[in-house]
């Protein structure tokens, strides 16, 4: 085992360059910690440094790494070329772009928060100290690692790296009782699920003697009949840990309380980034496993399980959201529902030898995430701007907003309609690519996926009610309080840009959305077959820029 070898290992510079974004995040964390020693403690300074760091991460990923990935194919960082610890490929490039862009916008949202006056708990607040940003950046780093690994140990480290700062972020407003309660709930839930996950990993390690998913998949490739109880429990426990991050039912109970209690920037961050990272990890595992052993009989219950959890997750999320009066809490449940929709794509298991289906599920999720990014940012952005001003995120704060603040109400309406998934908005485009992916897989190999299609569309109709409740409050209800809601110009621009982007994504850019997502889902690092190569499949048959260069490693 190379892991246990005592010879020191120094990664090659060229390999390290592929991980410049992570290094940039680490550098930013250090800078945020060190700079206050010189300039004094200031939230704004820390925010600006973090913003620069986030943008630098984005640019590095975009300009340097993305090109490298295209040039070199995918790359792994590991002392053992057969078992990579960290992965840089199109998929992780997408998630790093996604996370760093969202990080920058979250910091931007924090900067928009009015400095004066602290109102109701959970609405105002958020630590002004640099440590807030250290935590935020650390969780971003953890999420970036989550989507860039195929090693179980790194997975644990990444998940903890993403979770531990999040616990503290949720309780970062020290004067907020709901915040503290939410934080505690989050910790307890997180601790329980991650201990289950670590236990599962120990079983997997015991069964296969390796921590590398690729290696495990290679060993499994020979087993087409049954999996055995020990690894089955191990995989199940692994899924529990991931389900917690995605807030899939029945591991979703933390989500509404945490989202309601946390400062709204943190809620926004967790609702999008944390779920995206969890989904990325899940998809990568599913993808790696099904590539190696696609079509094996024992994979079917695994696919069924994910499909079932996805269906239940979106149904439960939508039904629970129907009764919420806090807009923040309603959006929390809605994020559970959307996680369910996205998880459906993870139930698309490839069949060995059917290369063209390899990446459609991934592409669908990537497309969905891109849209989800925009619509959640817009919806939470407006909620933040309204609740900062009125002191509450109760639905009554939105009464008559169509008149009191048309520049906020209209983008909110657009975002909510998009969250429902109505054309011609981005949410429909996202749902469309998802349904198309499900349909494609259903017709090819898994007809039961039509059931998921039906569940998804029926949920669309259910979700209509609670999203429209907010719209009704904004436009249909008479406003007894005539006061206008002034908002900072930056905030108004931000949410309106989101609305315009959604309109474009749903009309002129549907095609582009599909293209980009297909591209980022192609050319992935998959299994390095170590066992008899019974089920080796080329990474992708979709049009790719360049064939992977496996030999270089």
């Amino acid at each position: 085992m190379m892991l246990l070898s005592l010879t020191p290992w120094i990664p090659a510079g060229l390999d390290l360059r592929m991980f410049a974004p992570e290094l940039a995040l680490i550098a930013t964390i250090v800078a945020v910690l060190v700079v206050p020693l010189v300039l004094g403690r200031s939230g704004r300074t820390a925010a600006f440094i973090s913003l620069i760091g986030a943008l630098a991460t984005f640019l590095l990923t975009w300009r340097a790494v993305a090109g490298q990935v295209v040039e070199r194919g995918y790359a792994g960082l590991s002392p053992d070329p057969q078992a990579t610890m960290l992965v840089a490929d199109n998929f992780s490039v997408f998630f790093k772009l996604f996370l760093s862009a969202f990080l920058a916008l979250i910091i931007g949202l924090w900067l928009l928060r009015p400095a004066n006056g602290r109102g109701a708990a959970g609405v105002h607040g958020g630590s002004a100290g640099p440590e807030f940003f250290v935590l935020l950046l650390s969780s971003a780093l953890g999420m970036a690692l989550m989507v860039g690994t195929l090693n179980l140990l790194v997975m644990v480290i990444a998940i903890e790296m993403a979770s531990l700062p999040s616990y503290a972020l949720v309780g970062s407003d020290k004067r907020s009782r709901p915040g503290a309660e939410a934080s505690l709930k989050y910790v307890l839930f997180g601790a329980a699920t991650s201990s289950i996950m670590v236990y599962g990993l120990s079983l997997i390690y015991g069964a296969f003697g390796t921590l590398d998913i690729a290696g495990i998949a290679g060993k499994l490739a020979g087993q087409s009949v049954s999996l055995g109880w020990v690894p089955a429990i191990g995989f199940f426990a692994l899924c529990v840990g991931i389900a917690f991050k995605i807030s899939a039912v029945p591991f979703h109970f933390w989500c509404p309380d945490v989202f309601e209690g946390a400062p709204i920037e943190v809620t926004t961050w967790l609702s999008v980034a944390s779920k995206a990272a969890g989904l990325g990890l899940l998809l990568r595992i599913v993808y790696a496993l099904s590539t190696a052993v696609g079509g094996a009989a024992w994979l079917t219950p695994f696919a069924w399980g994910i499909g079932l959890v996805a269906a239940v997750t979106c149904t439960v999320g939508n039904l629970a959201a129907l009764r919420q009066d806090s807009v923040k809490r309603m959006l929390a449940y809605s994020s559970i529902a959307h996680a369910g929709y996205m998880m459906m794509a993870a139930a698309i298991f490839t069949q060995a030898g059917q290369g063209q289906f390899m990446s459609i599920g991934l592409a669908a999720v990537i497309a969905y995430l891109m849209v989800y990014f925009v619509m959640n940012l817009g919806a939470f952005g407006v909620t933040a701007l309204v609740s900062w001003r009125t002191g509450t995120d109760h639905i009554s704060a939105f009464t008559g907003l169509g008149r009191r603040a048309p520049a906020l109400a209209l983008p909110m309406a657009v975002c909510l309609f998009s969250l429902i998934g109505l054309p011609p908005l981005g949410g429909f485009a996202a749902k469309w690519w998802l349904l198309l992916a499900l349909g494609k897989a259903a017709i090819a190999a898994q007809p039961w996926l039509w059931g998921l299609v039906i569940v998804a569309v029926i949920n669309t109709a259910i979700s209509l009610y609670y999203y429209v409740r907010v719209i009704r409050q904004m436009y249909l209800c008479e406003d007894e309080r005539q006061s206008a809601v002034p908002a900072p110009l930056g905030g108004v621009v931000l949410v309106n840009v989101c609305a315009v982007a959604l309109l474009l994504l749903g009309t002129l850019l549907i095609d582009k959305l599909g293209n980009y997502s297909t591209y980022y889902a192609s050319n992935l690092l998959v299994t390095q077959p170590t066992a008899p190569a019974t089920a080796t499949v080329e990474p992708s048959a979709e049009p790719v820029v360049m064939a992977p260069v496996n030999e270089s490693k």
Binding site: F428, W450, G451, L464, R472, D511
Partner: protein
């Protein structure tokens, strides 16, 4: 001039944008009326290409006679298949497009007194949404790509929700959300069909093109032989999904409850659009998608569909008879009259299809007229209790005459438009080649009596009788109101007297082509469905 149709579809949103930047209320209204007016005129110029008196306008087979076609790839779904921006018109679309532009223009004029509605809401938003709605409706009637059809279908929902919800009556919020949820719940099932239609076609034939789906034998046989989930046959499942989507709009009996609420709460012009055009979208969807693409399932379901049609006719009429709210009565009469459309379609003979389509047009003329007639007295009396009215004809003679004409047209008096549609459907049902046809026709014929009963009784209570003090000094219909009612009245008479020249000749060719598709493929595929 091939872009003419695109101009017609996308002129209204431009007008909507213009409305939003107009400085005064008067200008907003003028822009809106001008936009709908120009749209109407542009659509009227299309008669030059549908001039049946100059020769065949339909082409030999379904899809050959399309006019004003625009076809541009939009979204590439696979390497060789794209969702298209594909619009065009044949005998099915053309009358409905004209109806849409006409009713929208008149409804826009009917909105002229928006300041008097006393709900103190902005008028820019109203007219902008109103124009957006027109685009959605025109898009539905002209889209020939299933995806595009679906997008337009949904696009029309949002403005309607706000138009009812913001500018509606006392229970507007309830009515608006009910309308929204019912329609969306139906249309998401259409979304399943949209995806499934694409994938169930054999590879190499996959398309979203509605014409191609109906004509490609490979797709047709694949649809008829495939199974969907849990061993259920593909074609009937899809037919049911689509039927629910369209039935909510028509509305068919168990899915109809949104309609009376929406009508009662909606402002008069929106009721006109709702009754005159929106309900027709359901019927159009059945004509355009369900019957040509799933003929086997249509034959398989014919009896059930006919029964639902009869239930609609009788149940709607009985409900209408029990109403004391004037607008609710007209709303239920819409349900009753749309039953003839369903019945005619279920028969699937040329006469049945023609009768159904004629009834669509006829109802598209008579029902907006009736709703406007109700609106006129509501503007004066501010209530709609039928039993509190009486003797209105005495104080408003011109209005009273037009009202009688409008309600008689709706009733189906010979010589007016409603008669032709109903009698055509009934005759087709009597002569239909089904064992169940004659009893069904007898049952449906009772609907005629019932509708005569509730309309005559209503006329007696509202317009006839002794002059009542509180309504004695009601002002006569204004010039604007008469101007709105006149085109409806003229058309009601013209369609009743010259049905062949004013309606049938514009659409029969296409309907025959659809009938042929159904007759050729229907029984054969239906045998595959029932035979397993």
């Amino acid at each position: 001039m091939s872009n003419l149709l695109n101009y017609v579809i996308f002129l209204p949103p431009l007008g909507a944008l213009l409305c939003l930047v107009m400085p005064t209320r008067q200008l907003v209204k003028m822009v809106a009326v001008a936009t709908t007016g120009v749209t109407l005129l542009l659509s009227l110029t299309m008669f030059q290409d549908f001039a049946w008196w100059q020769g065949d306008i339909f082409g030999p087979a379904y899809g050959d006679g399309l006019k004003y076609v625009s076809q541009v790839p939009w979204i590439w779904v696979s390497k060789d298949t794209a969702i298209q921006y594909f619009v065009g018109m044949d005998g099915l679309s053309f009358p409905l497009v004209i109806l849409t532009t006409l009713v929208t223009f008149l409804a826009c004029l009917a909105s002229w007194n928006i300041e008097e509605w006393k709900n103190n809401r902005g008028i820019k938003g109203y007219f902008a949404l109103f124009l957006l709605l027109e685009t959605g409706m025109l898009g539905v009637f002209t889209a020939l790509d299933f995806f595009l059809f679906y997008v337009f279908w949904e696009v029309m929902l949002l403005p309607m929700y706000f138009l009812i919800g913001v500018w509606g009556g006392p229970r507007k919020e309830y009515a608006a959300i009910k309308f929204f949820i019912y329609t969306l719940a139906g249309s998401v099932l259409m979304l399943v069909a949209l995806v499934a239609f694409y994938f169930y076609a054999p590879e190499g034939h996959r398309t979203f093109d509605l014409i191609k789906m109906a004509k490609d034998p490979a797709i047709q046989s694949a649809f008829s032989s495939a199974t969907f989930l849990w061993g259920l046959k593909f074609a009937p499942v899809m037919f049911v999904f689509l039927y629910i989507a369209f039935a909510v709009k028509v509305p068919v009996f168990p899915f109809h409850t949104w309609l009376p609420d929406a009508h009662v709460e909606a402002p008069t012009p929106i009721s006109m659009i709702l009754a005159g055009i929106l309900l027709k979208m359901g019927a159009y969807g059945l004509f355009r998608i369900s019957y040509p693409i799933l003929p086997g399932a249509a034959v398989w379901a014919a009896y059930a569909l006919a029964l639902l049609g009869v239930v609609n006719i009788i149940y709607g009429a009985l409900c209408a008879m029990a109403q004391t709210d004037f607008k609710r009565l007209v709303a239920y009469s819409s349900i009753s009259h749309m039953g003839y459309v369903l019945l005619g379609m279920a028969i699937m003979t040329p006469a049945g299809f023609q009768g159904a389509m004629f009834q669509v047009i006829a109802h598209g003329i008579s029902s907006p007229m009736c709703f406007f007639l109700v609106g006129v007295i509501y503007d004066r009396a501010h209530h709609r209790e039928i039993n509190r009215f009486g003797g209105l004809w005495l104080s408003m003679p011109i209005y009273g005459s037009l009202a009688t004409l409008g309600f008689f047209a709706s009733l189906g008096l010979p010589g007016l438009c409603g008669f032709i549609g109903e009698i055509w459907v009934l005759l087709a049902t009597f002569s239909a080649p089904f064992t169940w046809a004659k009893p069904v026709a007898v049952a449906a014929a009772f609907g005629v009596i019932l509708s005569a009963a509730y309309i005559l009784w209503m006329i007696q209570r509202v317009y006839l009788g002794p002059r009542r003090e509180e309504y004695a000094n009601f002002p006569e219909a204004t010039a604007r109101e008469v101007f709105i009612l006149t085109p409806f009245a003229v058309l009601a008479i013209a369609l009743g007297i010259l049905p062949q020249q004013t309606a049938f000749n514009f659409m029969n060719g296409t309907l025959e082509q659809i009938t042929r598709i159904v007759a050729e493929n229907g029984p054969k595929f239906a045998a595959m469905i029932t035979g397993g």
